[in-house]
Amino acid sequence: MNLRELTERVGAVNLIPEVGLTEATIERGYASDLLSDVLASAPSGGVLVTIQVHMNVIAVAVHAGLAAVIFASDRRPDEDVRQRAVEEGIALFASSDSAFDIVGKLYALGVRGPLA
């Protein structure tokens, strides 16, 4: 399932409509709020679910080669963070669901964690 379809099914809002979404199939995901852990373990081409909205999320997402970040529990990044994501071409979404529920929905749609 591609990112558009996946995030629509999960009910997440696109925070960066000005950036085109990748058509690639999203197969992997990761959930963590510790950015050093995301840096070390998030799967390239995957989606990150987090409540961290700090600027460093964008740097870490670029570094890990993530396709998108979904902010859980209605947390929204500041505009400068959003702008940086526009520049870097990282798709950002927000949802009022908890990280637990978002991950559950993604899993039900076939997205899995990183390869062991």
């Binding site: 510790l34 950015l35 050093s36 840096l39 961290q52 700090h54 460093n56 740097a59 570094h63």
Partner: protein, 247 residues
């Protein structure tokens, strides 16, 4: 005895998140213009520019005490300030911290330069470790590392929603032996300091400057015989549960 102004948390352009304008002479000039008497240089996970700022201050137009410092990122991604009597102590903590960090990559370079300067502000090198990420030290180990090197350990911006003890751990761990807590200057304006009185630790504030224009936006007003590290720390230590700034 005299009242002195101290801004104890200033980054140089060695921190990837700080602006390139944060050179030793520019920081010293901005501090003097803001009538600061004491500053501390606290870059992320390194003390590599402290000596250059101290040297820049020696030839400045007015007296300015530069305290060696560092802001360590713990394993839990909590920021902790260490302030020291000597550059050597700050460098020792910095070296221990940096050894646990991954190397800089082409991608991480895009998120900020990490410049080492001489006292005139010339770039003399670039840091090869990714200073923005977490070290391997736990919060307790980090405080131990700072104090083991004769330093003063302050929990950074405890009122802020990122990289603070409260944001990362949810509550204040009683077993960690902090010497003080820092309230962000924005938090001071909003009266958030009163939420932390119960910890019964000295409360500081600072500018946490990443831009030159931020220097002096938050500072301590403190009465000392002389603007030295020892005098300042013993004065702060006596302020258990009290503010070292004018709210």
């Amino acid at each position: 005895m005299k009242g002195w102004r101290a801004d104890l948390h200033i980054h140089t352009a060695l921190s990837p998140c700080a602006m390139d304008e944060m050179t030793p002479p520019a920081i010293v000039a901005a501090a003097i213009e803001c009538q600061l008497d004491i500053i501390a240089i606290c870059d992320h996970n390194t003390a590599g520019n402290v000596a250059a700022v101290q040297e820049a201050a020696r030839t400045a137009s007015a007296p300015l005490t530069v305290i060696p410092g560092i802001e360590v990122t713990t394993r839990e991604e909590v920021h902790v300030l260490g302030l020291f009597a000597s550059v050597e102590s700050a460098l020792a903590v910095g070296e221990a911290a940096r050894q646990t960090l991954p190397a800089v990559t082409e991608i991480s370079k895009r998120f900020g330069d990490q410049y080492l300067f001489d006292a005139s502000g010339e770039v003399v090198g670039e840091e090869g470790k990714m200073l923005s990420t977490a070290t391997s030290y736990t919060l307790e180990q980090t405080v131990g590392l700072i104090k083991g090197n004769g330093g003063f350990a302050i929990a950074s911006h405890v009122d802020r929603p990122s990289h603070s003890v409260m944001s990362q751990l949810g509550l204040f761990p009683a077993e960690v032996d902090f010497d003080g807590i820092e309230i962000s200057w924005v938090g001071v304006q909003l009266g958030r300091d009163s939420q932390f009185e119960w910890l019964n630790l000295p409360m500081t504030t600072s500018s946490d400057s990443h831009f030159l224009s931020e220097i002096g936006s938050g500072f301590l007003s403190i009465t000392l015989k002389e603007p030295s590290f020892g005098e300042l720390m013993s004065a702060i230590q006596q302020m258990q549960g009290k503010r070292c700034f004018v709210a």
